[in-house]
């Protein structure tokens, strides 16, 4: 029963409605559309009218931070043009992570499908930038460092290709696991109340206070994780894409 309740809170649930009459919907999908629509309308309006000032200032600070501390160090001065990509990536992941903190809304990055899609977009970006900057042959050649013995080169090439996929998988699982872990811990702590109440009603009532305190602590920790994971995903994407973009590898 507990497993079912946990799964209900964490796993995506289908909605008994269809978009345009044919497209099946789920809670994560609806949340995803809401995020896209919300951001697509809200951010241009905030930036155009520069109101509310606090939000505009925060966005400006975010853009400057991403440009100067993430994009430029990894791409060099030529990478200035990629700032919008990383701003969108950061804000998208940040909002996706944050929505789970609002009661009855879902953290869509707690779904492996969403994080896998995000990792796939990063993978596409890496391939696109590598091929665009070095050409297809040049990019494939960059997988094997200069001076590698000819006998080792094919093995190293295969390892590097596997390494690229492993990086993407790690990127996907890191975000997914971090976002789902907080929810699982909070729900598990709260379920402790019911488990203990099953043995003794009074002890169960007493358990409410420490359980609530702990869940509150984990929630606060999760706010930190939300920002850290958005930053980590953006930073790693910039590092991997920057490696493919640069000619030093």
């Amino acid at each position: 029963m507990i497993e079912e309740a946990l799964a209900h809170h964490i796993i995506d649930q289908p909605i008994h409605a269809r978009l345009f009459g044919f497209m099946p919907l789920s809670a994560d999908l609806v949340t995803l559309f809401c995020i896209t629509l919300g951001l697509a309308f809200l951010l241009p309006a905030v930036i155009k009218y520069r109101k509310p000032v606090l939000l505009y200032t925060a966005l400006e600070g975010m853009v400057v931070f991403l440009r100067d501390d993430i994009v430029m160090p990894n791409f060099g001065p030529k990478g200035r043009a990629f700032t919008p990509y990383f701003c969108t990536l950061f804000i998208f992941i940040l909002v996706s992570n944050s929505l789970g903190m609002v009661p009855s809304l879902r953290t869509i990055t707690g779904s492996i499908s969403v994080t896998a899609a995000m990792a796939a977009t990063t993978f596409c970006l890496i391939l696109f930038l590598g091929v665009k900057e070095k050409g297809l042959f040049g990019y494939l050649k960059s997988f094997v460092p200069k001076g590698t013995p000819a006998l080792l080169a094919p093995m190293l090439f295969v390892l590097e290709v596997i390494g690229l996929f492993v990086k993407m998988t790690a990127l996907c699982i890191r975000l997914f696991a971090n976002m789902i872990a907080g929810h699982m811990v909070v729900v598990s702590i709260l379920f402790l109340i019911f488990i203990i109440a099953g043995t003794s009603k009074y002890i169960g009532i007493v358990t409410i206070i420490p359980a609530e305190a702990m869940s509150l602590f984990v929630n606060v920790l999760e706010i930190l994780v939300i920002f850290i994971q958005a930053y980590v995903f953006t930073l790693l994407t910039a590092i991997f894409a920057g490696e493919a973009f640069s000619h030093n590898h």
């Binding site: 930036i47 919008p84 779904s111 492996i112 899609a117």
Partner: protein
């Protein structure tokens, strides 16, 4: 719980589509104007900073120039002061010398004049005394002597008087 790691390809597809759509929309309508505004502001700040630095450099140059000119003016003023002092000292010496000379001439002149007047006065007194002496002698003698004898007498008295030291 088995579904936790089961990928939903529909959700994956829509996530990628939504992200790309968001990338296009935000890139065009949000980040582009914001980055442009930021860069404009940064360029303006950099330009203002450069202008301020240029103005500061120019002010420093002007200050150095003014200080150098002030130093030159001060040196010139000191030199002029020294030459004026030397000139004034020479003038003073010359005036003192001239005044001394003039006063000495005046004193000599006055002395000579005093001497001449004294002599003239003595001459008059002698004449008067001689006249009085003759008159007195004539009255004593009650004799009228002729003019020639008078003249000889006066001459004799005068010679006697001249032979004596006159005391004023």
């Amino acid at each position: 719980m088995d579904n936790l790691l089961k990928p939903d390809f529909g959700l994956m597809f829509w996530t990628a589509v939504n992200f790309l759509l968001l990338l296009f929309l935000l890139g065009k309508f949000a980040w582009k104007p914001m980055i442009k505004a930021l860069e404009d502001r940064e360029n303006k700040i950099a330009q203002d900073k450069k202008d301020a630095q240029d103005a500061r450099d120019a002010a420093q140059q002007i200050k150095a120039e003014l200080e150098s000119r002030l130093e030159n003016i001060s040196k010139e003023a000191q030199e002029k002061m020294r030459s004026v002092e030397a000139l004034a000292a020479a003038e003073k010496d010359s005036m003192i010398k001239e005044a001394k000379h003039t006063s000495s001439v005046l004193v000599d002149h006055a002395k000579a004049e005093i001497e001449a007047r004294k002599n003239a006065a003595l001459q008059d007194v002698k004449k008067e005394i001689a006249g009085l002496a003759v008159e007195a002698a004539r009255k004593i003698a009650a004799v009228k002597i002729d003019a020639e004898a008078d003249a000889r007498l006066i001459e004799k008295v005068l010679k006697d008087v001249e032979g004596k030291e006159f005391k004023a």
